[in-house]
Symmetry: C2
Subunit: 150 residues, 2 copies
């Protein structure tokens, strides 16, 4: 039972990599594993902390870049301007990562959540501006931090 679910999780990751013509390697699987585990977007420093020296820092940068280029991950900047990465919900066309969902950033723990359910409103812009995508970032206190405050 357990080995089955682990297997399928890994197989899913392998399929994802192969679909994008990427070889299945240890660093890539590790990164996918950590990121898919977490509810919030993950930064390079976070990944480095979790993975330790099992994965070289440079490799980490390269893995994240490839994943973003291929549309496996999308990049969001947190309140401090640090890049964080989250799995793209569906098929992202390569290089066009118009954020198609709302992000929530907690000003207390600095976590970035992807809120796929929330609908994005239309934005009116001045004449002459062509809008291709609308990125929305709600800033506040996340559920976790709110309950901790008590």
């Amino acid at each position: 039972m357990q080995s089955r679910s682990l297997g399928s999780k890994r197989e899913k990751a392998e399929r994802l990599l192969r679909k994008h013509n990427l070889k299945v390697t240890v660093p890539r699987l590790s990164v996918l594993s950590v990121i898919s585990e977490k509810e919030t977007a993950t930064s390079q420093p976070d990944l480095e902390k979790v993975l330790g020296k099992s994965v070289d820092r440079v490799t980490l940068y390269r893995v994240l870049n490839v994943f973003e280029e291929k549309g496996i991950l999308h990049k969001i900047f947190d309140l401090h301007g640090t890049a964080t990465y989250a799995l793209c919900s569906e098929e992202c066309p390569e290089h066009i990562h118009s954020e198609d969902h709302v992000h929530f950033t907690c000003s207390k723990c600095n976590s970035v959540y992807c809120l796929n359910e929330v609908t994005i409103p239309t934005i009116e812009t001045p004449i002459g501006f062509r809008v291709d995508a609308v990125g929305i970032n709600a800033v506040g206190i996340c559920a976790q931090c709110q309950s901790k405050v008590n």
Copy 2:
């Protein structure tokens, strides 16, 4: 006529500095001058390019940081994650720079515009999330770039 308008512009900057208990210095006036001149948000590298070596790079960082802390400027990250700065429209309470207006980022020239006229819609979030501010960034092609494409 010309000297009058120049004078009032500088006086305005001086008043702004004094209001925040900041001394009126050459680097600070230079930064304010450049930023208030431009329609789009300005990055540190941009400022460095414009100001040349008349202002030390370290001073530039410090001026921008103080201005942000005091609520004179607000910080926006462009599509590459580079910090850009724009004048706060009205009185920003210190340290609380909830972006109270919509930003537009041009994916061609990478400029960030502050659209003060556009109203911000309310965003529904999952239960347990407290929203304090909503940041909206419309991405597309700005008026300038559109006309150049022709």
